[in-house]
Symmetry: C2
Subunit: 332 residues, 2 copies
């Protein structure tokens, strides 16, 4: 099946087509760019929500409950899980999967896990494409679930309209979040497992830190802190309200346009980085003559990785210039 | 002070010179490439050790004890901490810092934390450079401490000779590690906090998983599992023995040459990716005419991020080709 048939399937609401297009994005398959150019024309309608937080805070359970809450409001939902310990990605205990089963049977819910490292490269670019695919697939709400630690490959705050940072009481989790930098970037904070005796204190801690931090872009928005007990479905309705309020705020203030530009920039950069990186890896690969760069480090010209990098960049650019000379064809 | 003075300082054993060169690497400063080319000639002597594991397993305490153990063997030690929650990076509680204080006062110990996201870009390239700088600084042992979750920007296994994966008993931590992919890559496993009643079971779990997994490159090496209670200095001597054994194994088997090639490849790729990515970001920046790509998405030529990426790559390559035309000068 070529990508044109997949596009027809996607616009006709076939889950299998959405799924295969996301696989193409993960594998950076032939025909993907052409498909994405077409898909891109049908995007811009979804509310993209990020759910981020350390492993164990209950992101996945919360995501599951949010999906149900949005379904109860008759909104169609897409979920992209890029947390390696998420039950959506198959890493979970049996109980988790059973809990997710009733979501999977809802045709208006599309759930997809994304591979982490070791794929054809570029989790950022593939995630961005997956969001666009689900947007064109006419999902009203797209939830991206990811671990938000400091060394994260995905700068999730640049991909979404509304970022929910999930923490839990006790164990200094809020402090860990500050260290990891994710308390800087939330539009909404959820203190999950809020039946814990220290929940109120965790809320106070976060509210204190919100007061301290400088809100750069959207000074008019004061991030609310919501207490949830996801496993008992408590606090979810309030969280949904806050998510909706944030979206309305973005629209009313015009900030949604900035978010759009930010996302497009992130998309362009992720495409560029992925392409150049793959091309450079090819040039360095075993099959390539250039590989002797590494073994020939002691030769006169190539004495260190910096000199080798210069040579690879020159060759890469020369290739691209030759390929695109005069024809304006798509680059690989 | 120009980089030549810093190099003189580095080779004379001045910590301040090492520190400033690492800052140059973090900032990708002018003169860095020239400095690194010189530094690279003085590398290849250190044993590079990675310490990785989830937040809270006690990586930093273990690292501190390892430093002391290697010092007792009269080895000089450099530590690079890229864990945002590490006490080395200033994120710790007061008690942790006090515990580290006696290390800081040892002139043969050099400790440096690396910034995570938000820097001049390229934690991977800066970490690689920092390792080379400490190698040329004549540290016998270089320890790189990092969180090893699945979405980690740093592929630490490609940077080091010996990778120690730290876990702890209870709470399914070993299972979390499997999910995150870090149980695939360890040369040595440390079950820390082994005074916990479930420690034996954690060891058995890991040993079972080691049996299951396919050891690709170094079939002759069966990763040992060591029980430690870092805070009480228990098990550290055995861990040091295993680390030394692994290094001897690498040398005796000749695999150390493969590790060298792997590290040089990773270095070259990180330099290339960092350079191209920064150049592309410049082209996309506000000050650049190219920025209208984003606002002009509705124009006839540029309708989507893929087309925009094509244009930026063409411009980037054209710039590089012009800069390097005929002169062979270093690229930026």
């Amino acid at each position: 099946m070529n990508y044109k048939e997949l596009l027809t399937g996607l616009f006709n609401g076939e889950s299998s087509a959405a799924s295969r297009l996301i696989t193409m994005a993960e594998n950076r398959s032939q025909g993907l760019s052409e498909a994405m150019k077409e898909i891109y024309k049908h995007t811009g309608n979804a509310h993209i929500i990020g759910i981020t937080g350390a492993p164990g805070v209950g992101k996945s359970t919360l995501t599951g409950k949010l999906v149900k809450a949005f379904r109860a409001l008759s909104r169609s939902v897409g979920v992209i899980a890029i947390d390696p310990s998420s039950p959506f990605t198959g890493g979970a205990l049996l109980g988790d999967r059973i809990r997710m089963a009733d979501l999977v049977c809802d045709r208006e819910v599309f759930i997809r896990s994304m591979g982490t490292r070791g794929g054809a490269g570029g989790l950022a670019v593939a995630t961005n494409d997956a969001i666009s695919i689900l947007d064109a697939f006419k999902k009203d709400i797209i939830i991206v679930e990811t671990i938000g630690v400091g060394q994260d490959e995905i700068e999730i705050d640049k991909f979404v309209h509304t970022l929910v940072v999930v923490t839990m009481p006790g164990g200094g989790d809020a402090v860990q979040c500050v260290k990891a930098g994710i308390l800087e970037i939330g539009d909404i904070y959820a203190v999950n497992k809020a039946d814990h005796p220290e929940a109120q204190r965790a809320v106070a801690d976060i509210e204190f830190m919100i007061q301290l931090k400088k809100v750069a872009e959207n000074k008019q928005w004061k991030p609310p802190v919501v207490m949830t007990v996801a496993i008992e479905n408590r606090g979810i309705d309030i969280l949904v309200e806050k998510i909706k309020s944030h979206y309305n705020f973005l629209v009313d203030s015009g900030i949604i346009k900035l978010k759009y530009i930010q996302r497009v920039r992130a998309q362009i950069m992720s495409i560029i980085e992925n392409r150049l990186s793959r091309r450079a890896k090819e040039l360095l690969s075993e099959k390539c003559e250039q590989y002797k760069l590494i073994f020939g480090m002691s030769s006169e010209d190539i004495t260190d990785p910096y000199t080798a990098a210069d040579l690879v960049i020159r060759q890469l650019c020369s290739q691209y210039m030759n390929e695109s000379a005069g024809n304006g064809n798509e680059l690989k």
